[in-house]
């Protein structure tokens, strides 16, 4: 087995990994190695040939491949070393990793700091336990996106799409442009789960029927999907008797949520938050295992790639700090205060923060709301009865991440708080 060592090792070359590796080098790390399992760098971006990337980071509207290539270029320029076609098999204490590739064989890489940037995977039919037969023609939206945009093949001609995630809506448009028919898109919730702009640009503009409070209740077909049954659901998401109907189709596409990919994290002993599916992190994106940081969708599922990049830059910077400081300064910086999801908040990242760390600069608190509110709301962080920071928003939607910045002044107001709470409440006019 070959042995390598480096200062910062990043797993995954999607937007999170690219930004973390770039920033680690920029922050002074000597050797930064980025390990990617695919031939191509960029993670999922190369198959995202639609636009909508880079508005915040580059102040311009880019496609996925363009956004990726800018970051690949930047990372190259600052001297990040890439190891593509290489899959990490395990993370061991140290930290070190063992990876395999058809080019390099098995390789062990020791690192002073590690950044987890494996992204997320799609929820599958199995996870939803959709009953029926098991024919060919059931795909996740992302797999279909790869088949169409990278491999150049259409996986079907007449589609039903379950779920209204962003990839599903984008694929509805893409498949239509390729001459296929999207018979209907159904969403079990009373609101869409993806971004409003995708609803407008990908679904409404192409006259694709969208049924809310509706789900797929069965798959029909022996060899290939022949139809699916759909039903309206009640407020407990149970099918309403008498509303079931059969929709002929040859393909069922699933866009029903993303799950942070943390099998390696689990193997490394990183503690995971059941609410996010990702590691518990502090304001440095440090996980529970010293020297292991996490960035991007591996932490929690983001709405925009630009947000992934911004957060991953932080992870890269702190990983570089950790790698440079050596063992003596690796003790946590001060007291860790938990941040909890309060009223109408699904989860919060970071899950805890060191107030003392705010002396170096403000911390970004990211979270998602539970229920949509189509009216003015206040997002706030509280300590007991005291509101530390508050921001007014025109609306709150589960599909859009909300952020708040917490600075030293806020923190000082919290005094010796045991816990902070994040909540989103209707604002009083």
């Amino acid at each position: 087995m070959r042995d390598l060592s480096c200062d910062v090792l990043v797993i995954g070359s999607g937007p999170a990994g690219l930004a973390a590796a770039y920033q680690a080098r920029r922050s002074g790390s000597g050797r930064v190695v980025l390990v990617e399992r695919n031939d191509e760098l960029g993670g999922i971006l190369p198959q995202c040939i639609h636009n909508g990337f880079g508005g915040r980071v580059f102040q311009t509207d880019l496609t996925g491949p363009e956004y990726a290539s800018r970051w690949i270029h930047q990372a190259h320029e600052v001297g990040v070393e890439f190891l593509s076609r290489t899959m990490v098999l395990s993370i061991e204490p140290g930290p070190s990793i063992v990876a395999t590739g058809s080019v390099c064989g098995l390789v062990r890489i020791e690192a002073k700091a590690l950044v987890l940037a494996m992204g997320c995977r799609e929820r599958t039919r199995g996870a939803l336990a959709i009953p029926g037969t098991r024919p060919a023609g059931v795909y996740t939206a992302g797999t279909a996106q790869r088949l169409v945009n990278i491999e150049g093949f259409m996986p079907g001609e007449r589609f039903v799409i379950l779920g209204s995630g962003d990839i599903g809506m984008i694929m509805a448009r893409r498949l239509t442009l390729e001459g296929a028919e999207v018979a209907v898109m159904v969403e079990i919730m009373p609101y869409i789960s993806g971004l409003r702009r995708n609803l407008v640009q990908c679904v409404r503009d192409y006259d694709i029927p969208l049924l809310l409070c509706t789900t797929v209740t069965g798959v029909i077909g022996r060899d290939r999907v022949e139809a699916v049954t759909i039903s309206q659901v009640d407020e407990r998401w149970q099918p309403v008797p008498g509303t079931q109907r059969e929709i002929p189709c040859d393909t069922l596409l699933l866009s029903v949520g993303l799950i942070p990919e943390n099998e390696l994290s689990r193997m490394a002993g990183v503690a995971l938050d059941p609410l996010t599916g990702g590691p518990y992190v502090d304001e440095r994106l440090a996980t529970s295992v010293p020297g292991i940081f996490a960035a991007g969708n591996v932490v929690h599922v983001y709405d925009l790639v630009d947000h992934v990049t911004e957060s991953a830059l932080q992870a890269g910077r702190y990983a570089a700090d950790y790698a440079r400081q050596g063992a003596q300064e690796k003790a946590p910086i001060g007291r860790l205060i938990p941040l909890r999801a309060g009223r109408n908040v699904q989860h919060v990242v970071p899950q805890a923060l060191h107030m003392e760390a705010l002396e170096d600069g403000e911390a970004t608190i990211e979270f998602r709301v539970r229920q949509p509110i189509e009216a003015s709301v206040r997002a706030q962080i509280t300590s007991g009865d005291q509101v530390l920071v508050s921001r007014r928003l025109r609306y709150a939607r589960p599909s859009e991440m909300v952020t708040l910045s917490l600075d030293l002044a806020h923190a000082q107001r919290a005094g010796r708080a045991e816990m902070l709470r994040v909540e989103v409440i209707p604002s009083v006019a």
Binding site: M1, R37, R85, M87, L89, V98, T100, G101, S102, V103, C104, G105, L106, R121, E122, T124, R125, G126, A127, A129, P131, G132, T133, R134, P135, A136, G137, Y139, T140, G142, T143, R146, L147, V148, I150, E151, G152, F153, M154, P155, G156, E157, E178, G179, T217, G218, V219, I220, R222, D223, R224, P239, D250, E263, R266
Partner: protein
């Protein structure tokens, strides 16, 4: 016309093990199956348990072949390089009333000659299985019970048979028989007629229809559907053995078991149906399975579910296996109603069939070059780092991971495409390599696998199917794609 000594109809685990048993002798044997792969019937969708043998009625053929078959598994799986583990099985009583059932089963087990069975108290049981419900009042533990890879066993047995000279014809459906008077002289298939001195019906769910074709009426197979849920590996730490509830007349009940592949499996329920092709799961059925499993292990988390499926048991209605040379016909051997514990009994059934043929006058001369072993193909995930390194050095394709959840390499997929019984469909590849069986259920590997299969099988990606027939995975090229 091609002519054989024995034609076996049905390449499930029973037919394949019979083929292997017969390949020991200087016989011309043909194994046919209508599906595109071996083991496509009950073999691919069952509970994958090697039963100890306390269930069957003492004195029955089922009881005898169950206990005998169980004892054969260590050697069989070693010879065929198949995953098998004697992890022990437990029937759990959930009330004092059910403790009486345990005592009955224990008694029956002793009558059937089952070694290593003992009654355990509630405390001991919970010590062994901490996740077990606190309502458990005791258990019957069977040390010889185990878990196995059922389709792996079938594939290995069929490969071993093929390597020893058995001819295998897939996609070949037995439509009728040829006969001369009271003698069956061959099989008419969709690929023509084959003559044979002996025809063995090992057709699982379709055994009755073939019996009727042969002119033997009055026997019917009822498909009994069982639905299952498969949980992610993360749940596997919850169960160490196989946990059964107390049995009912219809079935052994909804159990919670670790699988040989490291998942947890829940099920089956038992619903008698009419359609032998109806493998659909139902919302009610899956709910029943989850509820049943939660009675045994309340901490099971439905969020760990990665797949559901249904299998059909070929229930004969007599309560026993029917394995015989019908007196009214010559040249025919029938296996019917091979329901649970058919998988466990299958190696003993194969030996039993050989003896029945010998008694019926088939001359059996051993082949000097018979090799009972089948060497499995390398499984990257099961090797240590040094072995992995050596494998990649010999063939770099073993360094390329195609399925991340189950750590399956390109090398393994290529090898399966060129095996003695080549994998020609995605599902066939799944059963041989575990590709696509993990938590992402093929979302990551499918595009890669299509490319590799097309290349290795010399076909267009558009011709790659999930399970043969009309189950193609892709429809056409995108607009403007290169020709």
């Amino acid at each position: 016309m091609r002519s054989y000594d024995v034609i076996i109809i049905g390449a499930g685990v029973v037919g394949s093990l019979i083929a292997r048993a017969l390949s020991r002798y200087t016989l011309r044997v043909l194994l046919i199956d209508r599906a595109s792969d071996v083991g496509e019937g009950t073999t691919k969708a069952n509970t994958a348990i090697v039963h100890a043998g306390y269930d069957a009625k003492p004195g029955s053929l089922k009881a005898r072949l169950n206990v005998a078959g169980n004892a054969m598994f260590d050697r069989l799986c070693a010879e065929l390089d198949v995953d098998f583990e004697r992890c022990g099985t437990c029937v759990v009583a959930l009330s004092d009333y059910e403790l009486a059932t345990l005592r009955e089963l224990h008694q029956r087990g002793q009558e059937n000659g089952v070694p290593g069975i003992e009654l355990l108290g509630a405390e001991e049981m919970r010590r062994r299985e901490p996740a077990l419900t606190d309502k458990a009042s005791g258990a019957l533990y069977a040390a010889t019970g185990g878990i196995v890879d059922p389709f792996g066993l079938c594939i290995a047995a069929a490969e071993c048979a093929v390597l020893n000279g058995v001819e295998l014809a897939l996609g070949t459906e037995a439509l009728d028989f040829t006969r001369e008077g009271q003698r069956i002289t061959g099989v008419i298939t969709n690929h023509g007629e084959f003559r044979s001195h002996w025809v063995i019906i090992a057709a699982g769910l379709w055994a009755d229809e073939l019996l009727h074709k042969a002119g033997l009426d009055g026997f019917y197979i009822t498909p009994r559907k069982g639905e299952y849920l498969v949980l992610d590996r993360v749940a596997a730490e919850l169960v160490h053995t196989v946990l059964f509830p107390c049995p009912t007349p219809l079935s052994k009940g909804i159990l919670v078991t670790r699988t040989i592949h490291g998942n947890v499996m829940l099920g089956p329920n038992a619903v008698d149906i009419l359609d032998k092709d109806d493998l659909a799961t139902t919302a009610e059925g899956l709910h029943e399975v989850m509820a049943g499993a939660l009675r045994l292990v309340p901490s099971l988390d439905s969020r760990s579910i990665i797949r559901n499926y249904a299998g059909l048991r070929a229930t004969g209605g007599t309560g026993d296996f029917r394995i015989e040379v019908p007196p009214e016909l010559h040249g025919l051997l029938v296996l019917a109603g091979i329901e649970s514990p058919g998988l466990t009994a299958s190696p003993a059934i194969a030996e039993h069939v050989v003896e029945l043929l010998r008694e019926a006058g088939l001359s059996l001369a051993e082949r000097p070059d018979f090799d009972p072993t089948r060497v499995g193909r390398p499984r990257f995930s099961k090797l240590n780092r040094d072995q992995q390194q050596a494998l990649i050095a010999a063939d770099p394709r073993y360094g390329n991971i195609v399925c991340r959840c189950e750590t399956v390499t390109e090398g393994e997929i290529v090898a399966a495409c060129h095996a003695p019984i080549p994998a020609r469909t995605y599902d066939a590849l799944k059963r041989r390599t575990r590709v696509g069986t993990g938590r992402c259920q093929g979302a990551f590997d499918t595009p890669l696998v299509i490319t590799i299969m097309a290349r290795e099988l010399g076909i267009s990606p558009l011709e790659v199917t999930q399970k043969g027939g009309n189950s193609r995975l892709l429809y056409r090229e995108t607009k403007g794609a290169a020709p």
